[in-house]
Symmetry: D2
Subunit: 256 residues, 4 copies
């Protein structure tokens, strides 16, 4: 901002004049720049990565290309049957979902995913998986490159709630990125109502596709999300097994 220097003497005089006249003032007494400058507490320093998409210094690395079992487990808390192949975490059909051992509230998440280069099936049957925020709210993973399905079921949709603003999909077999900003719900005393709903922003391959949308309730395949709301706290991140060998890599999260 450009600096403007006020005379403190004039400031004082101005106020004195106002007090003497008894008129309705034309405006409030003037301020000085220093009145709106706060130094404490100092803002915490974070070391950003040298390349966009890589983890900054305060991120929790959820998958680094090697060990699945450090941060992930299956739905029963046991080691998963998903596999590591070429540094990627690959879904094995029938192995079921995987979830993080940690639980999260509000966060910034980066995750990369790839659907099979060899195209099999169509609609919901091609390269289907999902990133479930707090295990309840799905950002759809799907091969949506030249593959029409219902709007709120394609890649980048909040499944059955919000279609993506645009379809920014890459070709099958190419790595794609989601950068997700998630704000967890807060609940009213009535545990079946949100006080504030979950909110989600998603960038798909760097393109904004969900702009702080307010979720209606947990993701449902059948039914109306509003009526499935139940109070919850911190919950794990979940990756879906929808039967397709979708791969994931470079997964990191920052708690907000």
């Amino acid at each position: 901002m450009k600096k403007v220097y006020l005379s403190g003497i004039l400031l004082l005089l101005g106020i004195t004049v106002m007090a003497q006249t008894g008129q309705v003032p034309s405006g409030p007494a003037p301020m000085k720049p220093e009145m709106t400058e706060f130094y404490e507490p100092e803002v915490r320093v974070v070391q950003p990565a040298t390349i966009l998409g890589m983890a900054p210094s305060d991120a929790i690395i959820l998958f680094d290309g090697n060990d699945i079992n450090r941060e992930w487990e299956d739905s029963e808390g046991k080691p998963t049957r998903w596999v590591v192949r070429d540094g990627a975490l690959v879904c094995v059909k029938g192995a079921g979902i995987i979830r993080t051992k940690r639980k999260f509230n509000d966060f910034q998440l980066h995750i990369e995913w790839r659907t099979p280069a060899e195209v099999v099936g169509d609609g919901q049957g091609r390269g289907n998986s999902g990133v479930f925020l707090q295990g309840l709210y799905e950002v759809q993973v799907l091969d949506s490159y030249n593959n029409r399905t219902y709007r709120q079921g394609q890649a980048g949709s909040i499944y059955k709630q919000y279609a993506p603003l645009v379809n920014a999909s890459r070709k099958p077999g190419e790595w794609q990125t989601y950068d997700i900003i998630y704000t967890a719900p807060r609940f009213s005393s009535d545990s079946t109502q949100y006080f504030t709903p979950p909110r989600v922003t998603v960038l798909h391959n760097g393109v904004l596709i969900q702009n702080n949308v307010s979720l209606r309730g947990p993701t449902l395949y059948i039914g109306i999300p509003e009526y499935s709301i139940r109070k919850h706290g911190a919950e794990p991140l979940v990756l879906q097994d929808h039967g397709d060998p979708v791969a994931f890599r470079n997964i990191w999260i920052r708690e907000l």
Copy 2:
């Protein structure tokens, strides 16, 4: 989502039973998956860039490393005295602000900036510039690497309104990125009040530093923003001349 197959016959029977008993139903009649699947209108396709941070196919390129004058002008609508050096747009002290010839409402903006490698001055006097959204709301540009100033005046602050969540600054002389999601205000019939305030999300070098904050009013160096609100529509993007030779490059914007 996992698929669950319901029998339509059972569904019908279930409804019939409910109608006959006259009891309060224990829950609503069941739905089918197809009842929440919408195909129209088809989601528009956008070609993402191959590298994060580069422009997707539907972006307006505001600076491509060559011509300043195609998209920018000075505060009087004339050619600016800012210069192009090594493919970057560099502020010339005393040349004044530059603004886009186009005007924008809601948008996604990518902009890269660099403060001088040779450190001169301190606090607000080191590598100071600014990105003014709609010409009114400043995301501060400053060399905030080992350079303490007031919280809401450092790099990534919404100047004098919101400190950044963290300080994700790179060293002076290094290129830094802002990815900004901006929602313009809507006004009440009283033109001095927002119906909904402007909202801003900022990622600094890929790190979330402003999470959908609601602005209090136009950026002020002196005073209280709430009392400076005046109705406006689409407005240009503005880069500030604060006297320091700050450089900018790879500027693109997507209207939302």
Copy 3:
């Protein structure tokens, strides 16, 4: 607020000291009361009624106990077949809805209604009518005194969207009041999406039953409201003909 008197001289000295030391200040420079006092524009004067529930001086009287046709018409813009009886506006079965000739955006509405003293039918079949805000969003009118129906279908519900917080119904045959604060939706450029949804607060017989709820979309008897959103501007107020001789009186509205 309690008044605190600051010495302007001390204020000036304080600032001077800060400038000399070059230390990080412990807090911002102090302000004076007059800096946050604004006199213009003067707030408009409204004469309140002497009794709660009666119209203040700036209200539009939509029904004063006599003439239906001044402010109301049927769905084709013709005179309605609803009748005036004992100073009340009474629904005639088969006459269809009535709507105001005027159109409204945001408003405060007071309306009184009475279901028949002689109870006929049950559930949705007893004293059913409705107040449609902007012709699209129904606040349910029903005899809900000892008359169970589905939660979001009883008196004071936002029909099929929000059950009332409590059931504050009077007995059939008694006059009841709704005081409604309504904020119209604003639309995104995509005309099938709200930028901000309609919001409704309702007091039923003086008891808060809807607390600034965000509507999901136009009221639907069958289906999901979100998918029926279509852009609209100012719209009339509508009273429903559901076949029961529900009466209305003392209807006034203030545009906000």
Copy 4:
């Protein structure tokens, strides 16, 4: 709502057809009314008062015209020196604030107040008191009948934050009402920031004067409210002693 009867058989057939053709459906499969009807849990019954402004059955009576000490105390938790006169609670100059012994979060509040019939002083010096929601957020009480002061300091203002939408004041010596709907703030993990700010709706003598405004922070006579935010939970209701013999009566509150 008008009832529409669908044939379950046709519904089934419709779905079958869609599955066979393999075309993009023109719309989702149709629903039935019962799919959006929920009966549980039953909505709680409240007995409204027979006259608008009087307490419903679930209200806590904070002052019934007799005993001050049952619900109120001074700022040190001791009996107050305010007095009961003609069934009203009257401020005694120098006695200090009074506060409720109970603490509240979200609530609906009804309170009646009267400034002295004999006019003394002007501006902030005439019939000044205040209703502090959660002890922190002031709805101003003032004789604002033909008594100009700063906008956000007159009767019905959220003191130094929001002027009332209109001036609905009665004459000095007449009883006036406030009906207040208050939503307490929720805090982020950073205890100096609101996750959601406090929100206030006020009806003054039945006229809407504050429409769900978002408070900037605790009420301040001097300074900027945003920088005084500190985490708090349930807090008492407070009535201010500003030196004038303002009277209060018929005070009741409903926790939300």
